[in-house]
Symmetry: C2
Subunit: 97 residues, 2 copies
DNA sequence: TATATATTTGACAAAACCGTCTAAATATTT
DNA sequence: AAATATTTAGACGGTTTTGTCAAATATATA
């Protein structure tokens, strides 16, 4: 599956700071080929990579995690009629705890 | 990965109505072996199956979709620090549209 | 109990997905 | 323009996931 969205986001972040893939790839412990594919949406960015990614890109971890999650939910459940209700339901559940 | 939650839910639904796997499997166009594994969490239930599933099990589609989505989000993002904020963010976005 | 029905299991091949390697393509610097 | 650095693409083997088949278990019924 080609998802692109989050990949192109981190790519634009990286480019805006003039960091070569070499550096980011090393921080994620993959090679530049894999990172390139992640940026182009041909490989998944794992949620476990968000901490290292935020660090090496010099952005706020919180913001990046939120970006990642919202993007994933948008993608996974695009067009599902009761997504809003589902989000409310899980929020209620989380607020209780 | 063994996720179980939603699988055992539809299994209990099916059993409470005394519907054999044969019927449900046919509605989903898989064989009973696959359905058995879905119920036991050894195969994924696809979101695209929810309509047929609701119909054959005689339950409300809305409720079942919500159940599916909440379960998946809980599973995918368990332990992520800013999940609540991400949910709020995507809700804002959806309410605007 | 014997028989039929339902469910689960394990083996299997097909498909999807992964990260790496190599080399080509592209961009940047000197 | 040449040299260097960066990014992308394709091929590859390895791993994971998939659905089916056939056999093994479990459950229900005559």
């Amino acid at each position: 599956m080609k998802s692109v969205e989050f990949g192109s986001y981190i790519k634009s972040l990286r480019e805006s700071k003039n960091i070569p893939q070499r550096i980011v790839a090393h921080a994620l412990d993959v090679d530049t080929s894999t990172l390139s594919k992640m940026e182009l949406g041909e490989r998944q960015v794992l949620i476990s990579m968000i901490p290292q990614l935020a660090k090496v890109l010099g952005v706020d971890f919180k913001d990046l995690q939120i970006k990642y999650i919202t993007n994933k939910i948008r993608l996974d459940f695009k067009g599902q009629k009761y997504l809003i209700e589902a989000l409310e339901s899980i929020q209620n559940e989380l607020n209780k705890k």
